[in-house]
Symmetry: C2
Subunit: 285 residues, 2 copies
Amino acid sequence: MQGIGDDCARIAPRAGHELAITTDTLVEGRHFLPDADPRKLGHKCLAVNLSDLAAAAATPRWFTLAITFPLVDEAWLDEFAGGLFALAERHGAELVGGDTTRGAVRSITIAALGEVPAGQGIGRGGARSGDDLWISGRLGGASLALVHPELAGPARRLHEPEPRVALGEKLRGLASAAIDVSDGLAGDLGHILERSGVGALVRYADIPKEEAFESLKNEKLERDCVLAGGDDYELLFTAPRQRRDSVRALADVTRIGEIVAERRLLIVDAAGNAVTHKASFDHFA
Amino acid sequence: MQGIGDDCARIAPRAGHELAITTDTLVEGRHFLPDADPRKLGHKCLAVNLSDLAAAAATPRWFTLAITFPLVDEAWLDEFAGGLFALAERHGAELVGGDTTRGAVRSITIAALGEVPAGQGIGRGGARSGDDLWISGRLGGASLALVHPELAGPARRLHEPEPRVALGEKLRGLASAAIDVSDGLAGDLGHILERSGVGALVRYADIPKEEAFESLKNEKLERDCVLAGGDDYELLFTAPRQRRDSVRALADVTRIGEIVAERRLLIVDAAGNAVTHKASFDHFA
């Protein structure tokens, strides 16, 4: 361990709180290109971890940073740190440990810790038949940017995602299950369904979509991006029907379907027909 | 995050305790060879992190694992996990988060968390003039194995280091400062001196050395390995003189010098002459 000045940093959650912990790695050539803007990359490395904390209804507090790179490039590192710490400060997350190593390929691993009042954390296993299914924001923008990098809005979604930290905190006591959409709606919803032992009906027309799809008029691309595109980092969550008004009062959330007892995921169009799409992102595809 | 089933695991330290956190990365080609024994590698990846916890007097509790590799190799992963979890179980450390990514070069990052009674953690900044300087075990074995890989004892020190967890816990209330010897005695002692604003006098003859040096009769190699060799993962610590008897009662610790007010590190032989050695391991050399 280097960079903090002790072998370990010491941290203490507030009384009555437990900690949520998560870790995510971004690897050059897999998650980002060699010429990726270092400031945006620094932002994104932390953002994907804060997004996991948000899905657990946790308030970001601390993170460790392990970074590997081939050569010392001070300018690159300054930019990377600039993007990283700007986001960290905005969410009150403090760097409490680091390791810098030399390796042939750039790689960044962050472990993030957040606080949640004891017993109020949210997982993937709490969805029950009859629950409403909700999504924050709009979907499909990040993966659209891979096909149309010239579009500013989608590019921002892909390279500088905003973790839904404030929303995650507000879901305490409201949501029965939650996940962040990192691998695509269908795949990530599948994780909730599997862990909860339930199924879901999703109305495709009700899913808020990246606005650029309206003018592109490419239905297949839209479906693939909206249902199977990763990296949007919106929150997908379920909540009991009797809490519908409370959830609706939250900013920027949309009801897109419901949880059903039968263990299958059905996504239907306005006519009630199943909507097909490519498989969700597989890290080992 | 993958492998645990939620975006975050939830953890809670016991009442009256704070957490120590650390992170370390091992990269193929830098910290281990492509053909490294995966079982030993799994052990070592966790061991270096538990060693940091030991230096902070913390009891291991949880860890996250981020692993990058080019191809799915089930046999390799099974062996790696075998070595990792054998050590984890021995020390009661639980895996609470993971991320598996594909990348051109193998890389493993672990973040480890340990518990320490509030206020009883040990850092690098507490050494005071007049304190005794202590080391656990014997030094130089791990780096000797790089030169003489045929020697079984040193090879074990290098590839399967045993973190000094039990000793670290016993240092609570005794040690004024501590660090684990990962980059070499001189360099790691330098970190304590710098943070504490003091200097040290070390008697080279008093340092317990890897036994193989006796028959090798290579004085320069011995000095370089003992003073500047990394990877031994022994604990180097300071303690007030009045606690000398209590410290001596601990198993396998040796007094090798003392802390002085003048801010310099002096290592002397039996005749009182300065002992020279190569510079400590530099990760960016």
